[in-house]
């Protein structure tokens, strides 16, 4: 109640009374309570739980979320490079964090208990610039009803999906905005090699109905049958299925692209202490157990339990490709431009 009133008061001041009143009030707030601005690409339905659990441990720190798709959060952070608005990043693609690190935007920090996390899940530097929380993998949402109605065979590999029978039936996220989309494109290029990778995508492009903005949307569109096949990520497909969507989760045989979600401190934050507290908590066992409710793969080894509608963690992990994040981060710009050039603009709509 008090925070809400204070927020309103601050806004009032910001809109009306100008600099003096605004700064006066924000000083007042800083004394009572620390407000952290946290940029994240976690799913909206996850945020509430994470925040509640965190606040149980640290009631004096208020989290202000800025949530969007991976590409957008990355773009926002880059745009604000000269004048960062975020204090902490929590749950953003490691590829993006590496990019930010190259721009010198991250403050290296080793959270308490970082040594208990799998080395694969953190920056190799010491202290690490970023520390991972979880991993998510590409998957295919397959609508059984619509497939039957349209007589679509069940695909088992990425290669199957270039067959003409799927023309206009597939929806996938646009890699420019979606982290899921990017990890797919990056995985195909790593799996098949550049030339064959692009050739695969050329063929796939013929079957795509729509490229979506976010990585969740294909799972939801497949769930509602708008398009029978949606490329999305493991957790989202499983969650839609749990909600009652007539979906089957398919993991193609060639292997799955995947991405780490990680956290980091933004250089220049004036709330360093609170920000570090958050990252400490983000690396804790409690947090990892929470991640596990949504993600099959988490940073702390040995604690993961199977997620509903997903294979057990070890089985899932076995399907992941050997992802070269450094390569992905370094080639991100080039891959996206190439993708944009090939598929970004079509002057005619898809049939």
């Amino acid at each position: 109640m008090r925070t809400i009133r204070m927020k309103t008061a601050k806004r009032l001041a910001g809109s009306f009374l100008g600099i003096l009143a605004a700064t006066g009030l924000s000083v007042g707030i800083a004394n009572a309570d620390t407000e952290l601005t946290v940029y994240t690409a976690f799913e909206a339905d996850q945020l509430k739980e994470y925040q509640q659990a965190f606040n149980k441990a640290h009631p004096d720190i208020t989290i202000n979320w800025v949530r969007d798709s991976t590409g957008i959060v990355t773009a926002k952070l880059l745009a604000e490079k000269e004048n960062p608005q975020a204090d902490v990043v929590w749950g953003l693609a490691a590829t993006s964090l590496m990019l930010l690190n190259d721009q010198g935007m991250l403050e290296p920090y080793a959270p308490k208990g970082v040594e208990k996390l799998s080395p694969k899940f953190r920056d190799s530097a010491n202290p690490p610039s970023w520390v991972g929380q979880d991993a998510y993998a590409a998957g295919i949402a397959f609508n059984i009803y619509e497939a039957e109605a349209k007589k679509l065979p069940k695909p088992t590999s990425w290669g199957d999906l270039t067959k003409p029978v799927y023309k206009g039936s597939i929806v996938m996220p646009n890699p420019n905005s979606s982290g899921t989309g990017f990890l797919m494109v990056s995985s195909w290029l790593q799996l098949f090699g550049e030339e064959k990778g692009w050739a695969f995508m050329d063929a796939l492009h013929e079957n795509i109905g729509v490229y979506t903005h976010s990585g969740s949307k294909p799972a939801k569109m497949a769930g509602s049958g708008e398009f029978p096949i949606g490329f999305s990520f493991d957790y989202r497909i499983a969650a839609e299925k749990s909600k009652g969507a007539p979906l089957e989760v398919i993991f193609p045989s060639e292997g799955l692209g995947w991405e780490l979600e990680a956290g980091a401190l933004i250089k220049g934050t004036d709330k360093l202490e609170a920000a570090q507290t958050l990252l400490d908590w983000a690396a804790s066992r409690e947090a990892n157990e929470l991640y596990n409710q949504n993600f099959a793969l988490v940073a702390m080894p040995g604690i993961a339990k199977p997620v509903e509608n997903l294979p057990p963690p070890d089985k899932l992990e076995a399907m992941l490709i050997d992802n070269d994040f450094t390569w992905a981060a370094q080639n991100r710009d080039r891959i996206l431009s190439e993708w944009q050039k090939r598929y970004g603009v079509k002057s005619e709509p898809k049939e």
Binding site: R11, S15, T37, A44, K48, N83, G209, S214, S347
Partner: protein, 580 residues
């Protein structure tokens, strides 16, 4: 422009006068009122400079810089026009804008014709229905069309296998949301026709058809051109519709978003913004010229035309309006229905599940309350600032050059698409060296951008109302030694109250529905309902997006209703003098 020339001539003439007589010119002493008024006007002008001119300038300069901020001339432009894929967006934008304009104007013209020239029953009802789209964000028709004509759509067979995701969807949704804008202009244009011309034509035994082509159409010419440009500009600068239903069909407005958000390429975003400015500015200039002509046409003393009943004609018009009205209500109804369906298309039971925004992207219910707060501030502060600005321009004494400049500043926002404004704000306010940097990420910047975005129409409404007031009020009160603010408060504001309420409602509703400028400017604390619609749709939560869009419609409608009641109540109390 002309005014400036006149002022220059006046100055020159005065100088000559002085030279000829060898004496000194009279330099008027400024009274306290003059000082207050001029300072206030300069203050509002400064606001417009900071909140409009400087950001635009920053954006223009950004378009000729590289990522490091070095000046590189037109290299970015060369690169843009060298990319055929991006170039295609221009073609696409023009294509959908032209088609939408033709469709909207044809429909709106006959609808307006029915409202003004027929005796069909239910004219005020049809007028009300036609204005509904104004209450909704432009994303709403896009969402409804997905439910109607999407791959799982209720009526998808009607598209004969064509996809709604693309130009078909963009045009349909654009027609929906631009319809009321065109209709209002055309109703006005058709209302001012001179009955005597029709009497003369009838006396000469011209057929109804012949009268239509020789009298009605030429008289409504300026209205048609003006409406066409308004619709064209709205479509080409709109971002919501192509975002929701454009599929892979890229247009300029979505290009900006993709360049900035997707590719993190701010410089290229600036270039596309400048390209998008061109059609908007041309439309703006044409509209200005036409407005001037139309005023001239209006000044002739005309006898208002009273339509005469004609059974067949009225029935035809009624049928036409019923179809259009049904489509408008239908699209709204689909969104309302969609928001209440539990899981389309597999679980058709009704529930409020989709209204549980806190489990979705977009900021939850907080976004909705933020929007209400933002819209209230925009209406409150915006109305005060805009009306005062208009008052100083219209009723100030002397200071001609300053007033001409202010007028120009007040008209300029009309030429700037919201998306361009939002991007310009990022460039300008998000620099740590900028003294106004503290505004970035606050509610205040959303309020400011909204006020500036919708400044012109509000300003012109205020100016029109002020022009209708006796120009001698100020002279009289000066002679009575009453300070101007007393007369402003006791006479000008009460007399202009209907216009003031109109402005505030216009600002409120637009603040509720706008996406374009604020999509670049909201922060964690200040997510907005309209942006939430976009984000939820992006995340695939189409039904909750429809639900939030409907919340916006309900709110706008409720506020309009309250406004109508308040206006009536107010009229009873403060406008008693209007009755004889």
């Amino acid at each position: 422009m002309t005014q400036a020339t006149i002022d220059a001539t006046i100055a020159r003439g005065a100088a000559q006068g002085v030279a000829r007589r060898g004496g000194r010119g009279v330099k008027p002493k400024l009274g306290r009122d003059d000082w207050i008024m001029r300072s206030a006007m300069v203050l509002i002008a400064a606001f417009l400079v900071v909140a409009l001119v400087l950001p635009l300038y920053t954006m223009l300069s950004k378009s000729v810089q590289d990522k490091a901020g070095e000046f590189i001339g037109l290299t970015n432009y060369a690169q843009y026009f060298g990319t055929p894929a991006l170039f295609a967006s221009i073609y696409n934008s023009l294509f959908v804008a032209v088609i939408s304009t033709v469709v909207t104007i044809s429909l709106a013209f006959f609808y307006a014709y029915a409202l003004t020239r027929s005796c069909m029953p239910g004219r005020s009802l049809f007028r009300g229905i036609a204005l509904i789209p104004i209450l909704a964000p432009s994303l709403l028709p896009g969402i409804s069309l997905v439910y109607l004509f999407g791959n799982q759509g209720m009526l998808k067979e009607l598209l004969f296998g064509h996809s709604i995701y693309g130009p078909i969807g963009i045009v349909m949704a654009s027609v929906f949301f631009t319809f009321p804008h065109a209709l209002m202009i055309l109703v006005t244009a058709l209302s001012i026709s001179d009955a005597r011309l029709y009497e003369a034509a009838t006396a000469l035994r011209a057929s109804r058809m012949r009268i239509f082509f020789t009298v009605t159409l030429p008289a409504a010419k300026y209205g048609l051109i003006s409406a066409a440009f308004v619709v064209f500009t709205l479509v080409i600068t709109d971002f919501g519709v192509p975002k929701v239903i454009g599929g892979q069909y890229d247009v300029l407005a979505t290009d900006i978003y993709k360049q900035v958000i997707g590719q993190q390429n701010f410089e290229m975003g600036a270039v596309v913004s400048v390209v998008l400015l061109i059609p908007a500015v041309i439309a703006f200039i044409v509209d200005r010229i036409i407005q001037r002509r139309q005023v001239a046409q209006l000044s002739a003393r005309a006898v208002p035309l009273e339509p005469k009943p004609s059974r067949r004609f009225d029935a035809t018009m009624l049928a036409f309006c019923a179809v259009v009205g049904f489509l408008i209500v239908g699209i709204l109804g689909v969104a309302m229905f969609a928001s209440l369906i539990t899981y389309w298309p597999y679980d058709l039971s009704l529930s409020f599940r989709n209204y549980r925004f806190d489990l979705m992207d977009g900021g939850g219910w907080e976004s909705y309350w933020n929007s209400i707060e933002m819209a209230s501030w925009a209406a409150l502060i915006g109305t005060a600032v805009i009306f005062c600005g208009a008052y100083f321009v219209e009723k100030g004494r002397g200071f001609a050059a300053g007033r001409v400049l202010f007028q120009l500043l007040a008209i300029l926002p009309l030429a700037v698409p919201g998306l361009v404004l939002g991007l310009a704000y990022i460039f300008f306010f998000n620099k740590p060296t900028n003294p106004f940097n503290f505004l970035y990420g606050t509610m205040a910047i959303l309020v400011i951008s909204t006020i500036v975005h919708f400044y012109t129409v509000s300003h012109l409404t205020a100016v029109t109302a002020l022009k209708q007031m006796d120009p001698e009020f100020e002279a009289v009160s000066a002679s009575l030694k009453a300070p101007f603010y007393k007369t402003f408060w006791r006479v000008t504001v009460p007399v202009c109250m209907p216009a003031i309420l109109d402005i505030s409602i216009y600002l409120f509703v637009n603040a509720m529905t706008t996406v374009s400028a604020v999509v670049f400017l909201y922060s964690a604390d200040t997510t907005l309902a309209s942006v939430a619609v976009l984000n939820m749709d992006d995340a695939g939560d189409i039904a909750p997006a429809a639900a939030m869009a409907m919340m916006i419609v309900y709110t706008s409608a409720a506020v309009r209703l309250v406004h109508a009641l308040a206006t009536r109540g107010l009229a009873r109390r403060t406008q008693a003098w209007r009755r004889r």
